[in-house]
Symmetry: C2
Amino acid sequence: MRSAWSTEILLSVDRAALATLRGQLEHQLRAAIDGGRLQAGVVLPSSRELAAQLGLSRGVVVEAYEQLAAEGYLVSRRGSGTRVGRRPPAVRQSAGDHRLHAPAYAFDFKPGLPDLTLFPRRAWAACLQHAAARAAAPQLDYPDARGDETARRVLAHYLARARAAQAEASNLVLCSGYTQGLDLAARVFAERGVRRVAVEEPCFSGLWQSLQRLGLQTIHLAVDEDGLAVQQLERGAAQAVVVAPAHQFPTGAVLAPQRRTALVEWARRSGGWIVEDDYDAEFRYDREPMPALQGLAPDRVLYIGTASKILAPALRLGWMLTPPALTAAVAAMKQRVDRGAPAIEQRALARFVEGGALDRHLRAARPVYRRRHDTLLAALARSCIGGGVRGVAAGLHVMVELPRTTDEATVVHEAARRGVRVFGASAFWRDSTAAAPALVLGFGAIAESRIADGIARLADAVEQARGAGRRPLGVEQRRRETV
Amino acid sequence: MRSAWSTEILLSVDRAALATLRGQLEHQLRAAIDGGRLQAGVVLPSSRELAAQLGLSRGVVVEAYEQLAAEGYLVSRRGSGTRVGRRPPAVRQSAGDHRLHAPAYAFDFKPGLPDLTLFPRRAWAACLQHAAARAAAPQLDYPDARGDETARRVLAHYLARARAAQAEASNLVLCSGYTQGLDLAARVFAERGVRRVAVEEPCFSGLWQSLQRLGLQTIHLAVDEDGLAVQQLERGAAQAVVVAPAHQFPTGAVLAPQRRTALVEWARRSGGWIVEDDYDAEFRYDREPMPALQGLAPDRVLYIGTASKILAPALRLGWMLTPPALTAAVAAMKQRVDRGAPAIEQRALARFVEGGALDRHLRAARPVYRRRHDTLLAALARSCIGGGVRGVAAGLHVMVELPRTTDEATVVHEAARRGVRVFGASAFWRDSTAAAPALVLGFGAIAESRIADGIARLADAVEQARGAGRRPLGVEQRRRETV
């Protein structure tokens, strides 16, 4: 068997086969074109080259090319060689290739996203370009599992000054975002004998499922206006707790100072671990953000931050500040699961932060979000939606309570009929039947000028849903403003 | 308590505290500078700004700045504001911040690495820059867990033409390299009831430990000149097998055609899964590379490829072709562990491949590695090392058997003393005592001109080790050339 791998195409002919050599060659080329391996316009080797590579007489290749040209598979032109023709190949449709195309909404209140049109493309592109073009050979090797040294130093400095974290480059592990950070932490916990992890109720959907799939038992603790009900930790026998002290999702609560202290005391007393989800702490509109909890207890808190909300989720960049006792284990886990984060992007991030581009971006983005937040709250106050707005002026979403008699799913459905995308909050409860009807409204993906109209339509949807509700109208309308 | 978060620094003063406001401010600034949160050269807000933000009289801030300037913490200059001074902060040294600095070797035969100086920096940087600058807002959102659609289409086309894979964009899942691909596959297997996974003996160290840590039982099958001893699968009750058919590490064996067929038949008959590690298949020097096994049985083979050997490990880019029956589960696992690979890098890769830069790079790199390979083999043949060279002319390493009486560790040690870094092969066996003494020599990281001298020194080290060996000299010197 002789073969050629010309222009990276695998072709071979087998002299022992029954088919003629020309027939084999034709068959293989047809199959390659039909199968999409050779696409229209690709230049084939000259008949002389291919014949030499395959150990065939040139005439065999010429004849095969001529036959395929006659069939439309190939196009030969004097001076420009032989190319694959435009004849559509037999299309291989795959049932698996369906994408969920979300219907377009006139008013999109999807939570959990920053405004992606604000992403500083040029500055980021320049940092990437710079990092790649200057990457020295050792930086192209397998990275330190914790991440590039320069990137860790710069990020540690950023977290210290912006989040008052006790950040040191040595304890920083770069990862691909909050999700991976949590996966790494949970796997390290599981290996160290942690069996029970407390989570907030409600919280990001997927959080407790991920923990449970790793064999961990989850304990669901309430969240009120002061954040996680830390006192419940004492009863639960949890060995670790996942908490978002700066701005809880979806309630928008901030962990109260006395609870921060109590949480740290619990961790110190019980030897428990705290996972701090600091996902959108950079956006606080009414006052200074709370410092990171990690700064109070760097020995007990595993801090996870992400670029998803301050820049863009597609970057898949995150960072963990690990308690010194866990650093080696987290780094080893990172090494085991993917051998470390991409180095060029880390150096780009370092340049982006060190050069002030991140500060500039945040300074530009904050007032935009703040105006959207204020516009949204004003629109909600004017509307007859009736429930209260929970949480502080921060982040990229608010939670709106609906009148108790309203069916949440009906509101979401009626809103969608009016071109408004909203999310029911019950999806974020483990026990959704226990959840009071509420909506989570994101303002990262909607222009300020669209908000009032969107809320007016939403109010209409709520009204419609209340009319359709099974329970009688007119019951007490709780107003629990914690803004 | 009033605070300011100017230039992302957390500062606050508490009117209820016993310390004077000025004292508090000074203390916090000192701590921020000592702790590294504020570094030399950082510009502070003007006294007027900071006073307004903190709700203090300007005089308090002026006095605090003056005191800190006197102490060297700050430098004030008319017209350029107040900056953090060059006074070295109290350094917080961390015991955890030790990096293993490998000693520099005059001759480095480290395996598993391409020549990083060949990395096409400029072309890659241009692709990254282009992808980032043109990223539309939807591309900056959380990505499809399988990866960017364009990147999958381009890569599927590449794998079809270059590796004769039955690649479709819908079944492709982008990941961060072979390590993550294997972790995802193993976790999916474990969830689907797979308990026993066969691996090659010897193989990449870490492979079976990773599987075992996920609760899977590993079955270790021999590798000979024809690759994995597929016939042993029949006895072992394995439900999946991890194999490197194109170029096995460390033996360099290629899976023989009849074994490829037998392996696929085993999978079809038993319902077993095959994980194909195609890690350096693009580098074959003596003949055409074997097509990917996946092309024979896309329904049973989970194919994993990586940019680590053809470009650079630091990119952390890999790809999996998943059997259609597993695609959804693998994508869901990728979603769960890290919500998908970074999108800008994927689009950069797509541009790099589609624009022909990858083909150009491979065409340039192949002859470089081929010459190093041939030079290495010639030097080994001239040397008196005595053992045979195993494996085919491919990839980035060869395995060299040592005379049976030689102690492998002594050779590695004696070589290091002579400035030559080589790796003993026994580390790649589960049962290293069963391994015949051998070395794995990489030629990715050593210049062609250094190879002959390095091997001469290595021969000297082997000679020394044989003299130091416990067993008598002069025994039969096997020569099992399978090149």
